[in-house]
Symmetry: C2
Subunit: 289 residues, 2 copies
C-alpha cells in the first residue's frame, strides 16, 4: 500500500497529522495541502506537513488519495469541486466527526463516483487546532472508525484501512447511525457541557472570582471548551438529533440526582460516586477495549 | 515561624502534602500522623511523609500545630477528641473543602478554645488519594483560602498564613459563606457532573461500546469522577444548598441551549462556543488572577 500523491483538504490537527503519519510510515511520496488559509498552509509547508499548496479542492482531483478534514459543513462544497476531475482508481476519505451528514453530502456531491469515497473518523483529537498542532503520532494506538458504503469495493475499504494502520491506528467498522449515536454520547455531549459550564461562569458578575479560585479540576473538566468553535458548530448542527437526545438523557440524570442532594442522602451519593469511580478505573485499565 | 511538632489528622493527599511541604521548607521538626488506616499510616511513615503514628486524635493535642485533613463529616468527632488536651498556644487548622460546616463543627467541638482554630482550604488537589499520592510541591503557586473566625488572634492567622506560604502557596481570605458559594460552582459542581456522566454511560447496555470508543476528551472531562467517594459525599452533603443552587443554574443553562440545538442554530452555537473558548483562554493566560 503506497500513495504517490495525497491531497489533504483542510490542513488542521487531523489532516496535518494524517499527512505526517503517512510520511513517517514511508507510504506517501508527496502531499498537497488544500485550504482557505494561506498563512496556515505556508506554516504547514514550512513544518514539512505538506509539500505543495493548492487553494481549490478541484486541484486535489488528480491525487490517488484525498483526505477531507475540513469542518463537516464544508464537505458538500469540497466534494462537489473535487468530483468532476476525480480519476477512476483515486480514493477519497475523510476525518469528519459525524458520519450520516458526511455520507449524505458525499452521495449528493459525488453522484456515481460515490463508491470512491470511504468515510472514516479517527477517535483522536485535542483542543488544539491548526497545522502547527499536527503530529505524526496523533493516531498511534487510537481507534479509527470506518463507516463503509454499500457501494465501496472491499479492496478500496481495505486500502483506507491499511493507510490508517500505517498511521498506527486500530481500525473498526460501524454503520453511520451507530457511529453518530456513540459519538454524540462520548464526545459531542462532553464538548457541549464544557462550553456550557464555561459560558455559565463567564456570564456572571463574579466571573473573575470564580475562575481565579478554580484549579486543575475545572481546567481539565473544561479543556474541551478550548476546541475550535466552527468545527464544533458544524458537528452539533449535523448531529443535533442524537446530541439533543443525549442532552435530554443527561438532564434526566441530573434531575434524578437533585433529590439525593437536597435530602442530604450521603449513602446514595457515595454509592453513585463509588460506582462511577469503579467504572472509570475499569475503563482506564482497558476493561472496555 | 517554626513548629516543633505537627500533627496531621488524615494523612491523605492534602494532609500528607502539607507535611512534606513543611518538612521541605525546614519549618517543622517532627510530624505525627493520625488516622484510621494502619496500612496507609505505615506507608506514610515509610515514605517519610510522617515520623510517628497515632491512632487517636487526642494524641495530637500536645502538638503545636494540628492539621485536620479528614473528610469533613469527621471534623466534629476529631475536634472533640482533640479539645480537652489542646494546650494554649497550639494552633489547629484544616484543609476541608467546605467551610460553613467546618466552622460550625469547630465551634461545637472546641467551645471556648475555638479561637485556636484557623479554618483554611488549599485550592489544590487531584483525583488521587492516600498518603502515597502526597507530594511536597502540591501547593506551590496554588491558592489557599483562609476563612478566619472573629475569635482568631491576628497573630495566629498570620502564623497559619506563614505556614502555607512556606509550602509555596498564595494565601487569600474570604468569609465561609462566599467560600462555599465559589467552590460549589468551580469545584463541587464539576465533580458532581463528572460522576453523573460516567454513571449515565455505565448504566447503559452499550457501556462497553461507549467507553471503548471514547478518547482523551472524555477521559479529561471525567477525571474528577475518580475522586474519593467518601470525601465527595461529605462535601456534597455539607454544601448541598449551594451545590443544589449551582446544579439548578447549570440545568437552566442547558435548557437555554437545547432550542439552539434543536433549531440547528449554527450562528448562536458558534457564538456560545467562541465566547467560552475566549474566556477559557483568558483564564489559562492568568487573566483572572
Amino acid at each position: 500500500m503506497r500513495f504517490e500523491r495525497v491531497a489533504i483538504v483542510g490542513v488542521g490537527l487531523i489532516g496535518g497529522s494524517f499527512a505526517l503519519a503517512l510520511k513517517a510510515a514511508g507510504v506517501c511520496a508527496h502531499v498537497v495541502g488544500v485550504g482557505r488559509g494561506a498563512a496556515n498552509l505556508e506554516s504547514a509547508r514550512r513544518l514539512g506537513v505538506i509539500d505543495s499548496i493548492a487553494t481549490d479542492p478541484a486541484q486535489a482531483a488528480g491525487c490517488d488519495l484525498v483526505m477531507v478534514a475540513t469542518p463537516v459543513a464544508q464537505f458538500e462544497r469540497v466534494l462537489s469541486a473535487l468530483a468532476p476531475g476525480l480519476r477512476a482508481g483515486s480514493l477519497v476519505t475523510d476525518g469528519g466527526s459525524t458520519k450520516r451528514d458526511v455520507v449524505a453530502a458525499a452521495r449528493k456531491a459525488l453522484g456515481d463516483k460515490v463508491a470512491q469515497f470511504v468515510p472514516g473518523h479517527p477517535i483522536a483529537g485535542a483542543e488544539k487546532s491548526g497545522a502547527a498542532a499536527a503530529k505524526a503520532d496523533l493516531f498511534r494506538d487510537r481507534r479509527v472508525i470506518l463507516t463503509p458504503l454499500a457501494e465501496n469495493a472491499p479492496a478500496d475499504v481495505a486500502r483506507i484501512e491499511a493507510a490508517w494502520q500505517a498511521c498506527g491506528a486500530r481500525v473498526f467498522r460501524m454503520d453511520p447511525e451507530t457511529h453518530d449515536e456513540v459519538l454524540a454520547a462520548v464526545s459531542h455531549l462532553p464538548h457541549l457541557l464544557a462550553y456550557a459550564l464555561v459560558k455559565e461562569f463567564a456570564d456572571r458578575g463574579n466571573a473573575a472570582q470564580l475562575f481565579g479560585n478554580s484549579a486543575g479540576g475545572l481546567r481539565d473538566f473544561t479543556r474541551l471548551a478550548s476546541s475550535h468553535p466552527e468545527m464544533w458548530r458544524d458537528i452539533c448542527v449535523a448531529n443535533r438529533d442524537k446530541l439533543a437526545a443525549e442532552l435530554g438523557a443527561f438532564e434526566d440524570r441530573l434531575r434524578a440526582i437533585r433529590p439525593l442532594l437536597e435530602a442530604g442522602d450521603g449513602a446514595a451519593l457515595e454509592k453513585l460516586f463509588a460506582d462511577a469511580r469503579g467504572v472509570r478505573e475499569k475503563w482506564l485499565q482497558g476493561g472496555f477495549e
